[in-house]
């Protein structure tokens, strides 16, 4: 299933993103970010369903919680998405 991973700079930031999304009715999960996606090592990612991206970005931006990077997962591969 396709989904987006939004990279957060820390677990605290990822949690704040998750809580902000929940307040806007958007379901998400926090994961350790795959190593390939973090050029500085060790980060967290917030996973959302493909259709939730526009609403999620709007909600996060409103709360000052913009992700560091966003990746689209397709058939096990990740592709960075310009925001």
């Amino acid at each position: 299933m396709e989904h987006y991973l939004m990279i957060a700079r820390s677990v605290t930031f990822a949690q704040r993103m998750q809580r902000a999304l929940a307040r806007h009715g958007i379901r998400s999960r926090i994961f350790r970010a795959p190593r390939d996606l973090t050029d500085r090592g060790c980060a967290y990612a917030v996973r959302i369903a493909e259709g939730d991206l526009p609403a999620a970005l709007t909600a996060l931006h409103r709360e000052g919680l913009d992700p560091v990077q966003i990746f689209l997962s397709q058939r096990g591969f990740y592709q960075e998405v310009a925001t």
Partner: protein, 374 residues
């Protein structure tokens, strides 16, 4: 035991604190070190605690709330972030060694805003005279740990804002009793222990960082973030939280903060003031002791000091301990405060309260004092 040493640490805690610590030991590992349930449970507790404190102190965001070992650790970070070696600081005349020793270690030029005890306007005037261009930081405790003197931090903050000088507030004795608004004050840092008026366990402290405050690390190490970099992360709280967190402590602190917010700092403060007044009035009737309390307790909260005229304070402290009453005698790690109040030669016996003290306990303390000085 009648415990009257809460300015050192609140010995009696809400039951919820111990329960939370038990739960943390059973269910939490370490935040930022994994994505499995135990790591995320720890991360949730840590964020909940940061969020509660950010709300209580009107911090910019939960990430500005940094966990430390104690208030001393928090003050060291704050002071060493702002005052370079040989730099210039202005402090009140009632500071603790947690402020003066880091400044001494930095070889800082320290100006003391000296003022008589309980004279808030005189404190403000002294700071007004001393905050000059080139001052690296102003540091002032909200409440003196020796005398319970509530210092005019709002007025001092206004002076600092006007002159563009960063302000560090030591909220060690006021946390849980008197509120502070980080945003309105424009303070660079507010430091506090978790184990006093916030009713968390020993080994917990908090540094609330202003949005634009520069932060220097005093400890470097793993943070679970940006691990390829050898420099510490440039964002909070990670920048200042190297190494594994004290999760039982943080979970306990969270329960303590929730307790304080549920009861209400104002309600706790009001009751402590009532008991302090009761103690001060009773002590004035005991012959041979000098009591450091204004009759109306204006500008004082939760702490009062006394000096026996013909007995060493440590001897009085021991005599009270023999009667099951815990107080603290000596200099209370604050020689500067004693110098300011004229008690450096003797030290004092300090009586300090918490939410758990009762009128009956104060009555028994006064009875013991009467018996000792009969």
């Amino acid at each position: 035991m009648i415990y009257l040493d809460s300015a050192a640490t609140t010995f009696q805690k809400p039951r919820s604190v111990a329960n939370a610590m038990d739960r943390a030991l059973a269910t939490m590992s370490s935040p930022g070190r994994g994505g499995y349930p135990a790591a995320m449970a720890a991360a949730d507790a840590a964020l909940d605690c940061r969020t509660e404190l950010a709300e209580l102190y009107h911090a910019e965001s939960p990430e500005q709330v940094v966990f430390t070992l104690n208030a001393t650790h928090a003050l060291n970070i704050a002071i060493k972030s702002l005052v370079p070696p040989g730099g210039r600081a202005v402090v009140s005349g009632y500071e603790h060694n947690a402020v003066t020793r880091p400044l001494a270690a930095l070889g800082a030029q320290v100006s003391v805003a000296a003022a008589p005890l309980f004279q808030r306007a005189a404190v403000t005037e002294a700071f007004d005279r001393l905050i000059v261009p080139g001052t690296d930081a102003v540091i002032c405790n909200h409440v003196s740990n020796v005398f319970g003197f509530v210092q005019p931090v709002e007025e001092i903050a206004a002076l600092c804002r006007d002159r563009g000088v960063p302000f560090i507030i030591d909220a060690s004795q006021s946390a849980g009793l008197l509120t502070l608004d980080m945003k309105a004050l424009g303070a660079a840092f507010i430091a506090m222990p978790g184990h006093k008026g916030l009713y968390g366990p020993q080994g917990t402290g908090v540094l609330i960082c202003g949005r634009d405050a520069p932060v220097r690390t005093v400890l470097e190490g793993g943070t679970g973030s940006q691990s390829l970099e050898q420099a510490m992360p440039d964002f909070l709280p990670d920048r200042l939280e190297a190494g594994t967190h004290n999760m039982p402590g943080i979970a306990g602190l969270l329960a303590g903060v929730r307790f304080v917010r549920k009861v209400g700092p104002e309600a706790i403060c009001q009751e402590e003031r009532r008991l302090t007044l009761l103690a001060a009035e009773g002590l004035r009737r005991v012959p041979g002791i000098r009591v450091y309390a204004r009759p109306d307790l204006k500008a004082q909260v939760g702490v009062l000091s006394l000096v026996p005229e013909k007995m060493d304070p440590e001897t009085l402290g021991a005599a009270l301990a023999d009667r099951g009453i815990a107080v603290r005698a000596g200099l209370h790690c604050a020689p500067l405060a004693h110098r300011s109040a004229g008690t450096l030669e003797t030290g004092t016996v300090r009586v300090s309260l918490s939410h758990w003290n009762t009128r009956e306990e104060i009555g028994r303390f006064l009875g013991a004092m009467g018996a000792i000085f009969r």
